[in-house]
Amino acid sequence: MSDMPLPLTGADRPINEAVRPSSGRRFLGLGRRLISPLLLLVLWQVLSATGILPARILAGPTDIIAAAQRLIASGELITGLMVSFLRVLAGFSIALVAGVVLALVAGVSRIGDLLIDPPIQMLKAMPFLGLLPLFILWFGIGETPKIGLVAFGAVFPIYLTLLGGIRGVDKKLVEAGRTLGLSNLGIIRHIFIPGALPSLLVGIRYGLSVAWLSLVVGEQINASSGIGQIITYARDFLQTDVIVVCLMVYALMGLVTDGLVRLVEAHALRWRPQVLA
């Protein structure tokens, strides 16, 4: 009974955020929001140092930092990172090409839409991470199932957002393009693709986050290289500090690739008033 008001304060926090006025205030607000994570970190360190939280359950913050330094110094982390990154790159490239081609065909041709869209909508409903056992049966335990899972996971957001973008392109511009003498290909190139680019970039960012997620799952199976292998090894030797470092690396890579797409976005969409302003 006494904790009744708690859900209420939780509920009106977003409202306070929405009306928060100046950027100076926002900075103060951010500072305030860092208080509780920092307190938790201190608590975590205290629990670990006193042995209440054993390292085999979860290593303490200082141990994790030490493990990170060790892994970087030995070159293990960088090598593993490169391997994992290349897997995401390969899988995501496949997804990008496939998603763009499928969405273009479905978006500009009625027959294409009829043939392509229904099966994709059905496949989309599948929990794709559950496909892993099948992928292993089909492709073995090498690189293929991992890259395949990344590609399969990332293709849907790319396809769906791009198709939405193509459908949203102003038909009046397409008509104008016709009066300018553009061919069908010219209309795709000069109108549909640039017109759908904002949506595609949203799809790419979403697809990249799915790609990293798929990789984390895919690398759990018999990874003989990459971040996944470092995790498997650490699991066998109860090195929770190494596992946490690897998880942070995954998160960091997700942030980095997202940041790269944002850079592309800022340049490619500079014609939009929001970006101009």
């Binding site: 009046k172 511009l173 008509e175 104008a176 393009g177 016709r178 009066t179 300018l180 003498g181 553009l182 010219g186 000069h190 109108i191 640039p194 017109g195 680019l197 500079r270 014609w271 939009r272 008033p273 101009l276």
Partner: protein, 234 residues
């Protein structure tokens, strides 16, 4: 002189509704024709057919190959600069020069690297006009291109279009709601109603045309009554 546009018995219906019921239209090279008519009378439908954006039936449909359109909205590609919009779909080595020249003609060369969404309404419409003219059209189709502009900008656009017409010499079909706009610019005015032309008026008055000209006032009153609007008597 053979006609640039020669259309016989042109019809178009949407479902059961007949919008154009057997229209004959001839336009001579370099002629400026204005098309008036009430809202929904089928002016845009006719213009779209001339532009090749819509299909109907006709006994004869002779059109010049080079046709350009300016719509009521500028319809510039927002992701291309003004200059790239003007040159879009035009081939040839001298395109850029010609585009610069045309942007100069419409008084927009200082905005050639601007993004369309940063242009004012009048500027955007002038860019659309430059994009239409750079193709050296034999027939320029204008569907209420000034309707969304303020009155002063519209008057400036009238003289701009007139000068450009004189300079580039295309035949023009101007769809408009504005009777004075038609009178000020056109050699010939057609009124569309109930699926065919209900009136055809020549304007045998030299330019520049003054609103005080009694001959023009008589034509204006005539057209207004044809459109079902009685002039105000004060």
């Amino acid at each position: 002189m053979t006609n640039l546009v020669d259309i016989r018995n042109l019809s178009r219906s949407f479902g059961a509704v007949s919008v154009l019921k057997g229209i004959d239209l001839q336009i001579a090279p370099g002629e400026f024709v204005a098309l008036l008519g009430r809202s929904g009378s089928g002016k845009s439908t006719l213009l779209r057919m001339l532009a090749g954006l819509d299909e109907g039936t006709a006994d004869r449909l002779h059109l010049p190959p080079r046709r350009s359109v300016v719509f009521q909205e500028p319809r510039l590609m927002p992701w291309k600069t003004v200059l790239d919009n003007v040159t879009l779909g035009v081939d040839g080595k001298t395109v850029d020069e010609r585009a610069q020249q045309t942007l100069d003609d419409v008084g927009l060369s200082h905005r050639k690297h601007a993004w369309p969404l940063t242009l004012s309404g009048g500027e955007a419409q002038r860019a659309a006009l430059a994009r239409a003219l750079v193709r050296k059209p034999e027939l320029l189709l204008l569907d209420e291109p000034f309707a969304s502009l303020d009155a002063l900008t519209r008057l400036r656009m009238h003289s701009l279009v007139f000068d450009l017409w004189r300079k580039h010499g295309p035949a023009v079909l101007l769809v408009t709601h504005d009777v004075w706009e038609a009178i000020a610019l056109a050699d010939r005015i057609l009124v569309l109603g109930d699926g065919h032309f209900t009136k055809e008026v020549r304007v045998p008055v030299s330019h520049p045309r003054r609103r005080s000209d009694p001959e023009l006032a008589r034509i204006e009153a005539d057209l207004l009554s044809e459109l079902g609007v009685e002039p105000l008597t004060v």
